[in-house]
């Protein structure tokens, strides 16, 4: 419809650029003034948090980190939250990737960032090769994942990693993989992913090692299949999931905080302590982005509502 005449038509033909401009505004402003939105963690996120917290002492966690900068908005939040919890629990972990050649580097940067946080907060830093391993990218997800299921040491055996200022050595000599002979020896396998690797891992590793996923919002519907059927222990989905997790790190589950208040209650989970009483330590991407998400989604809802109102008015006018 050229040059909209009636009000009804105007409502239905708002120019695209105007919408786009609005969207940029509502997503930009909240970043300058971060605030804390009230929230209610989802069950799958709570199960995820509990799953990590219930890993036996001294077990190694294997992280399949299959995300890069293109999904930084969600995945970095998930990954750094995961690393924070693991470090808080003093669990050793190894990070590998079958999703993207860049994933290992991106992961390394995040670990470094969290280490800086810990230094600032006066906590012990995680030493490369001693406390955690940066494994390389393995092309061919199917083959590698299947191989990890059959003989993990054979697959990871070729990989090398170096402690700070040392020559690279086979990762099998690292304390991290010392007690890992079979995949069954792992405490948990967490897949932080923005790609199909989730399916591949369930297909080839389910039943051999407990699994937990951190996926991008778009993958939530498909992966909640696996959560529903109990193939994975817990699921952190998208920005909401990250925000949930960051809240749980703050308040725990069924746990009395230092202020004596129990913020998060759940009858499906046991008591899981929170940590990071100092709020500054916890401003993660989730907490940072969640308000802006409100702005954007509200705009979307308004746009749809307005469009429909326009349509109905138009119909009336037509009659």
């Amino acid at each position: 419809m050229k040059n909209p005449a009636t009000f009804a038509e105007k409502l239905q033909t708002c120019p695209k650029w105007a919408l786009y401009l609005l969207l940029i505004t509502v997503t930009s402003l909240p970043l300058w003034v971060p605030l804390n939105v009230p929230n209610k963690p989802k069950q799958d996120a709570m199960d995820f948090y509990e799953a990590i917290w219930k890993i036996p002492e001294g077990k190694t966690v294997l992280i399949a980190s299959d995300w890069t900068k293109s999904t930084r908005g969600e995945s970095e939040g998930s990954f750094s939250a995961l690393v924070r919890i693991l470090m808080r629990r003093n669990l050793k972990f190894a990070v590998y990737s079958t999703g993207d050649p860049q994933a290992p580097e991106v992961a390394r940067n995040v670990v470094a960032k969290v280490n800086r946080e810990r230094r600032a907060a006066g906590e012990r830093e995680y030493k490369r090769f001693e406390d955690w391993l940066s494994l390389p990218f393995f092309a061919n997800s199917e083959g590698t994942t299947g191989g990890i299921g059959n003989n993990i040491r054979a697959i990871l055996g070729n990989a090398k990693d170096a402690a700070e200022g040392q020559a690279p050595a086979s990762v099998l000599n690292s304390p991290v993989l010392k007690d890992v002979q079979k995949v069954q020896d792992l405490g948990l396998l967490v897949n932080v992913t923005a790609s199909k690797t989730a399916d591949i891992i369930v297909e080839r590793l389910y039943g051999k090692v407990p699994l937990a996923f951190m996926v991008t919002g778009v993958m939530v519907p498909e992966t909640s299949n696996y959560y529903a059927s109990g193939q994975i222990k817990g699921l952190v989905g998208g920005l909401k999931g990250v925000y949930d997790l960051e809240q749980l790190m703050q308040y725990g589950i069924n746990w009395q905080g230092p202020d004596g208040k129990t913020m998060v209650k759940s009858d499906r989970n046991g008591e899981v302590p929170g940590f990071a009483v100092d709020k500054k330590f916890l401003i993660g991407n989730g907490t940072m982005y969640y308000p802006a998400l409100h702005g954007a989604v509200t705009l979307l809802i308004l746009a749809v509502v307005v469009g429909n109102i326009g349509m109905f008015l138009g119909r009336k006018g037509g009659k």
Binding site: E142, A228, V304
Partner: protein
Amino acid sequence: MIPFAQIRTDFWTDLPGSSSANLKIIVGLLVGIGVIFALLRMSTQFRRPLIVGSTFIAGLYYILLWLWPKPIDRDPGEVATNPVEGLGFWLEDANPAVSQVRNIIAAFLIGLGVYSLLRIHVGKIAKQQKDWGFSLVLLVSMFGMAGVGFADWASRQGPEGAKLDNQANWGAINYVQDFLFDGLLQQMDAAMFSLIAFYILSAAYRAFRARSVEATILLGTAMILMLSLLGGISYLSDQAIEKMGGTDPNAFINNFRLTELAGWIQNSVQVASIRGLQFGIGIGLLALALRLWLSLEKMGNA
């Protein structure tokens, strides 16, 4: 220690760098090329059987891996006690290698992709067609990225390579590579990805109209889900409903809290409907896979 102490060689394996190994490689290459020439001369009636046969045999590996009795309780370094087990062992061991074959062949084909790009853009530049400048930009950045990237990769090989994880030890080439890849390529990936947000907005505004029953259902569900994502709204509405329910935590009305509702829709209807869809797709894929493996349908028939 003697470097090759632990290597047992046979016809298929040889000492690295040994002249016999290199000889075998060269002979193998010549044989392969010979085969190609043989194919050029081969009479027509053998073509189809050859294609069908190679497809079938390639697939047969995975079928065997799947159906052949898997070794029970196998530990690394054990030897098979009988032929059946032997084949089972071999199938398991070959898996890492076989699972690479597809990628390797595909990698060799990339030359065709590059050929396609050159064909189009060199052509434009040669004929000075409209936008030939942009074609030039494309080719330059392509070979630039490849060249710089390779140099950077080479500099990271060997024991010294690990040092370059630390920016302090970077040389010029590493900086250029980082600029091209991390500074430009990855940023553009993210930028293109985030464009979708705009398109979602305009698409929803344009198309999400309650015109038909189906459209209305789609629209309504999407709305409920989106609202439940807004921690603020769902939190407040839940509070309100819990007030209605009074003190009793089991009050029936609590099932209509926004978060409950959204969760219920996702875990019952959505999971179920998508599973139904997936079963269909899965069976369709299975059928197609069977047809391709047995070459029951001609490539590209429709």
